[in-house]
Symmetry: C2
C-alpha cells in the first residue's frame, strides 16, 4: 500500500468559507458530522478510513453542478460516492475535500423497451434496476458481487458473472451524462446502438473512476430475458480441470452465459456463510441462456467437455428458486471469504489474463497461497480469464498486512508477465497506481496524465486515484 503512504494526505481540506457556502446551498443535505463523514471515507478495501470534510447528498444533477462549482472555486477535491462498495479505495478522501453522495439520485428515468435501453440516475443499484424493469421482459446483466450503483459500475468499468456472454460496462453503456470539473453537464452520446462520430467519450468516462467528471446518468443496454435458463454445478479434481472445461467450451463456440470457478476453500466459506451444502472441492457454477432447445444443447456440449476433464457430480438447478440460491451464494463469496477470519479485511486480487494462460496462472497462485500463512480462497469469472484471490488479513496485525501485500503483488506481477492486466474489473483506485506504470509503461501513463489534465486542470476530481498529476 505504498501509494497512499507516499501521497500527501488531507493537504487540500475544505476551507470554512466553502463549508459555509455548501451549508447555505444544501442545508441539511450537507453534513459535516463525524459519523457521516467517516462512513463515506471507507469502502470494502483494506485501507483505514480517510473521511472527507463534508458530505453533500445530491438529489439532482443541479445539486451536483452547484456542489462541484463551489468546490472548484476553492480548488477543493470532489469525491463521488454511490454504494460505497469499491474494494480499491476509490471513495477515500485522501487529500480531504467534499464527498458527493449520489445514492439519492436513484430514479429510473426512461425505459425504452423497443430499443432495449434504459436511462437511470447514477445512484440506482443494479438490483433495483432489475426489480423496476422486471415486468418489461428485459434485464440488465452486469452483476458485480455487491449491489453496486450503476454510476459506480460505469466509473470502475465493472463486470461480473454474466460478462462472458453479455460483456462488461464498457460494452453495455450507451451514453453517460456527466458533470465536468468546470460544472458543465454533458451527454456523451445519443441512444443509437453504435456511432462513429468522434472520440469515444463514453468509453473514456467508463472506467475513469471519478477523476474526469462525475457521472449523474447512465443509459445502458438491456437484453430480453432468455426464454429458458438452466444452471448447473459440477466438481473437479483440481482448479485447472475446471478452468480448462470453460475455456474449451468457449473455443467450441458455446455461448455460455455464466461460468464461475470456485476452489475448495471458497466453497467451504460459502457453505458456512450461505448455509449451503456444496461439495468442498474445485467447482464450476454454470448457466446457459436461450431457447429450451439451445439451452439443452449447450448444456450437453459443456457436460461432455467437463466429463472429458474429469468433471463429476453434475447437479442441475432448473427452477428459478434453486438458481437464485446458487447465484446469491456466489455473489456473497467475497463476504463469505471475509468471515473466514472475522474482523479481517480483504486484499482482493483481480488478475485477468489471456484465457490460454489462465489455468497455469491460477495453479501457480494456488501454490503461492499454499505456502502462505493467510487464507486466500480463489474464485472467478474464468470465461473472461479473470479471477480473484481474496487474501484475508487482520489490519491490526502488521505482519499479516505485509504478507497479504506480498501475495497480492506476486499475483499481479504474474498476470502482467503473461500479457494480462492487474485489474479485470475492480479498477485502479489507490491500490494499483504504481502497478499501472508496470502494466502500461511511462509513455502510456503520460498520455493518461494528459487526458486527466485536459479535463481537470486543477486536479479536483477524485485526486490521487488512478493517475497522479
Amino acid at each position: 500500500m505504498t501509494t497512499t503512504t507516499d501521497t500527501p494526505r488531507r493537504s487540500r481540506q475544505a476551507p470554512a468559507l466553502l463549508l459555509e457556502s455548501l451549508k447555505t446551498r444544501f442545508g441539511s443535505a450537507c453534513s459535516t458530522g463525524e459519523s457521516v463523514c467517516n462512513q463515506h471515507g471507507r469502502d470494502e478495501s483494506p485501507y483505514p478510513t480517510m473521511a472527507p470534510d463534508a458530505v453533500v447528498f445530491a438529489q439532482s444533477t443541479q445539486d451536483v453542478v452547484d456542489a462541484i462549482n463551489l468546490c472548484a472555486a476553492h480548488k477543493v477535491p470532489v469525491i463521488p460516492y454511490g454504494a460505497g462498495s469499491s474494494i480499491e479505495g476509490h471513495v477515500l478522501a485522501i487529500h480531504g475535500g467534499i464527498t458527493i453522495d449520489v445514492s439519492k439520485m436513484n430514479k429510473v428515468l426512461a425505459l425504452d423497451v423497443d430499443d432495449l435501453t434504459c436511462t437511470v440516475q447514477a445512484g440506482v443499484t443494479r438490483m433495483q434496476l432489475n426489480q423496476e424493469i422486471r415486468s418489461s421482459g428485459l434485464f440488465f446483466p452486469i452483476d458485480p458481487g455487491a449491489d453496486a450503483s450503476v454510476g459506480g459500475m460505469a466509473a470502475t468499468r465493472a463486470s461480473g458473472t454474466n460478462a462472458v456472454r453479455y460483456g462488461t460496462m464498457r460494452d453495455n453503456v450507451i451514453a453517460l451524462t456527466v458533470v465536468t470539473a468546470d460544472g458543465k453537464v454533458i451527454t456523451t452520446a445519443g441512444r443509437s446502438k453504435k456511432s462513429s462520430t468522434g472520440y469515444d467519450l463514453t468509453r473514456l468516462f467508463v472506467g475513469s473512476e471519478g477523476t474526469l467528471g462525475l457521472i449523474v446518468e447512465v443509459t445502458v443496454r438491456l437484453y430480453p430475458l432468455p426464454e429458458a435458463v438452466s444452471a448447473a454445478v459440477c466438481t473437479f479434481a483440481d482448479v485447472e480441470s475446471a478452468v480448462n472445461t470453460v475455456i474449451q467450451s468457449i473455443q467450441l463456440g458455446v455461448p455460455i452465459a455464466r461460468a464461475e470457478m470456485l476452489d475448495g476453500l471458497t466453497v467451504h466459506a460459502i457453505n458456512r456463510y450461505s448455509k449451503t451444502s456444496l461439495a468442498e472441492q474445485p467447482m464450476l457454477f454454470l448457466e446457459f441462456h436461450g431457447t429450451p432447445a439451445s439451452v439443452k444443447e449447450q448444456a450437453q456440449i459443456v457436460q461432455e467437455v467437463a466429463t472429458g476433464n474429469g468433471g463429476e457430480n453434475f447437479e442441475w438447478a432448473i427452477n428459478p428458486e434453486d438458481r437464485t440460491r446458487l447465484w446469491n451464494a456466489r455473489h456473497h463469496a467475497f463476504f463469505a471469504c471475509l468471515q473466514l477470519k472475522p474482523g479481517s479485511r480483504a486484499f482482493t486480487t483481480d488478475a485477468c489474463v489471456p484465457i490460454s494462460k489462465l489455468a497455469e496462472c491460477i495453479a501457480e497462485t494456488a501454490q503461492d497461497v499454499k505456502s502462505s500463512s493467510l487464507p486466500a480462497p480463489i474464485f472467478g469469472h474464468v470465461g473472461d480469464g479473470n479471477f480473484h484471490c481474496v487474501i484475508v488479513a487482520d489490519p491490526e496485525i502488521p505482519d499479516e498486512m505485509v504478507e497479504a501485500e506480498r501475495l497480492n503483488q506476486r499475483v499481479m506481477q504474474r498476470a502482467l508477465r503473461i500479457g494480462g492486466t492487474c485489474s479485470g474489473e475492480h479498477g485502479v483506485g489507490l491500490h494499483k497506481m504504481e502497478l499501472l506504470f508496470e502494466e502500461h509503461g511511462d509513455d502510456v501513463m503520460d498520455l493518461m496524465r494528459r487526458v486527466k489534465l485536459a479535463f481537470d486542470p486543477d486536479n479536483i476530481m477524485n485526486p490521487g486515484k488512478l493517475v497522479s498529476v
Copy 2:
C-alpha cells in the same frame, strides 16, 4: 461541403528541407511523383483530390516513427493511408503535408488460436486476414463493404453486416500499437479480454481517424467459425415491413448474425452490377450462425416473424458458394449504386438511430428520395439501426451536387432529431465536422478539442479532420 470550403487549404505544405530529409531517409520509398500523390489525395468520398506533398511507404513501425519525427520537427501534417476506402474524405491532404502509406505493413504478426486473438500490422486488409487464418477454424467478423485495412477500420470505428451479432471495431479491438505525434510507440493494452486499469486509450484511438496518433498494429478478437451457417433472402411489400421483421426478431432474443435490408432500387443496381436475378423489391438478406439445431431454430422463428410482416419468397442459401455469391453482391452494393450513373460520386449517408425509430426514419427518407431528381438507393444494417442512402450525383453538375448535399443534410438532421447519430460506421472525416456540433453540443466538442490538443499540441496528426482546433 462547407467545412472544406471554410478550411484553409494547403496552408502547411512541406518545406524543401523536409522533403530532402525524407528522401535521404526513405529513398525510393518516399515519392513526390504527381500520380502517386494524387492517388493518395482522394478516396471514395465525393471530394475532389487534395494531394499530399509526398508519400512515404512505411515498411515498419520504425519507418513510421522516423517519418512522424521528421514531420513533427517542421510541424507538417501527417496523413495516414491504408486502403484508401474512406467515404468521408479522411485521407485528403487538405492542408498539404506527408501521407504515410502503411499498406506494405501487411503481416499477420501473431495468431493466438487458444485465446481467440490475432495481432496484425495496420495494413493487413480484412479479407487478407480471414484468408491467412482460415485453417485455424477462426474468423474475424467485421466487414465494411470495401476490403479495408484493419488499421483504417480501427481508426474509423468501422463495422458492417456482422455487427448486429459480433459488434463493431469498438468491441473487437483488444489493443493497439500507435505512434504518437511525438514519435513514441505505445501499446494501449495487454491481451486479456477485459481490463479496468485506467483510461480506455484503446477505445479513444478507435475512431480517432488518425488525429491522435498513427495506428501501426491492431490486436483483434476472433471467433470460432460457426458449425452451421444458413442464409436466406425474403421479399416484402415495403421497407418498413422488412425493417420490422428484423427488429421484432432481435426483441425476441434471436441472435441473428446478419440482417441487411435493401430497397428495390438497390436490388436493381446489384442485379446489374453482380449479374444476379433477385426480385427488385424491398428485401432482407439474413444469416444465422450456430449449431445445426440452433440455426434451424433461429431461421424458423425469423421466418414466422417475416411471414407476420407479409414476407414472401423465402429462398435459402445453404451451401457456401451460394452464400458467398449473396454476400459478395451485398458488399458490392456501394459500387453497384455508383454504376446507376456512371462517372458519378456518392454521398453515402450513414444515419444510425434507436431501432424503434428505424422504420419511420427510413420511410421518411424514402419519401425524400422519391421527390428528388437524383437516384438514391437505400440499404443497411437494420439490426443496428444503421442505414445508408447512397445519393448518386455527377460532380461536374453543380446542381446535382447541391441537391445531393440537401438530401444528405435532411437524412442526417432527421437522425439527430430522434436521438440518433449522423455516422454509424463511416466516421466524421471532412464531411461531418459541423454536424458534430449539432449532434454533441459545444461542451462535448470542447472536450474532444482538449483531447486532441493534449495528444497533438501542434495539430500535425491528420489536421482538419474530425475536430478543428
